[in-house]
Amino acid sequence: MGEVKTSINKSKVVNNEAKRVLTKRDIFNSWIRWFMFAQSNYNYERLQATAFAHSMLPAIKKLYPDKDDRKAAVQRHLAFFNTEPVCGSVIHGITIAMEEEKANGKPIADESFNAIKTGLMGPLAGIGDTLTQGIITPIMLAICIGITNNKNIAGPIIFLIAQYSIMIGISFSMWTNGYKLGKKAVEQILQGGKINKVIEGASLLGTLVMGGLVGRFIPLQMAVNLNIGQVKFNLQTDLLDKLMPGLIPLLLTLFVLKMVKKGVSPIKLMGILIAAGTITGILGIF
């Protein structure tokens, strides 16, 4: 309260001199509200809107002492918003920087705020989801599942610590960098090729690790024994293993992949796999 009074006095006494500045504390307070409540009120109508506005409150209260300014600021941030919360934190940083400029006299219309938010939230959702849900988390999971399967309780513990560090690290640095660098710099980074190179390399690692998981978790062995004359012939050990190790698991996964790409829903695929498992199990094929 004391801080607000001083800046009001300052702006009354010295016209253009009073600068509303956000401290590191304000930036952090805004960030933590987002990082906790991003999907607290997740809903079909406006997705993360209330969380976005909620996270802006510490900055808004610092920048706008006038009640009507505050109300206007909150209202422009109650618009539809949805992005990947960890990587998308850069958008909030940029928005806070823009609010700071506006509070200090730069004329920025409501539409400009929402244009930036809308323009960035899509690409960042794509990149963010690919990175956090498609690459980082599955790879971390695969590694820690591997550790757990060696009867090592460190698996889930390492996973917890690593994921918290990674996600907090990415989100907070995206937030503060968005604030410091502003929209121009972020657009440049998005357009530059660096992100794609990282995703490419990480995808390679991810795919290799996926293959590793196939070996451990799809141990399908054909239980078919053929009797050809005097010779006992086991389909798995005498034929398939000699062709290529893990052939059946590979073919199964590729088949499911083809179905997934065709757009068959995961729930349907679960049903198909359960049916396939039931039939082959009963017939004694596997």
């Binding site: 990082f35 906790m36 999907q39 607290s40 009120n41 079909y44 209330t50 506005a53 909620h54 009640k67 109300k71 909150v74 109650l78 919360p85 849900q133 988390t137 599955p138 695969a142 590694i143 599942i145 591997g146 550790i147 757990t148 060696n150 009867k151 889930p156 513990i157 917890l160 994921q163 490419e200 390399g201 995808s203 991810g206 795919t207 290799l208 690790v209 293959g211 590793g212 998981l213 196939v214 070996g215 451990r216 978790f217 799809i218 141990p219 399908l220 290529m244 893990g246 698991p249 590979l250 590729l254 088949f255 499911v256 992949l257 997934v260 790409k261 995961p266 679960m270 359960i274 498992g277």
Partner: protein, 255 residues
Amino acid sequence: MHVTFLQAALIGLFYYISWSPWFTYAGFFTFNRPLVAGFITGIILGKPLEGALIGAGINVIYLGFISAGGAQMGDPSFAGYAGTALALISNLDVKTAMAISVPLGTIATVLWIAKMTINSFFVHWADKEVEKGNIDALPFIDVVPPQILLFIVSFIPATLVVYYGPNAVSGLLNVMSPNVLHVFNVIGAMLPALGIAMNLKLIGNSFTMPFFVLGIILSVYFKLDIVIISIIGVIIALTVTNIKNSSSTGTSASA
């Protein structure tokens, strides 16, 4: 084993927490995953390692599940907490646990849909309060009503399933012969293909797919540990990225 109501309630509580804001959004990447869900459930039921092992198995099925744009294709967290709990209480092996976790995770999707729909009302409430100038109502409306709702649709179903589920499961098991358990094993061996395939859809392309096959060979033929495979993967990824970069800068330099 016998589960106490307190244990069931604790498991239900952690299931609620896994979708809640209280452990921050990083909770979505940790407590919401079957690996950790299984671990926590295991701790509550006194068998942490077994719980983690079951959770790990269930997690592979859900590896590629991505929640995007408000859509949800199944609830890996419910599968993790309830699936592991039922498996530990009823003494099921990992593959059978994986098989039963699938219907659990699928049915729980309705809880998500209910929450996403009802939360829309709170947005309108927030609009009204802000219009009146009462911006301090926003933090309250953003947190308290949706979390009370979430608690009701998460804690109650999960606790009930964990507490009463084993009776249903043991009833089924008594009817089942070893053959049926073998079938569950086969099912449990096929389901992971879904999780892996869904992830491959995202990161697999003509460049990366050969490494998928390599990964299979490393794990099946050479019986390499996943951690070792990951290290090899990092080495290959860095090398290949370097080669790609130097060849592209090479051509642009000579051009």
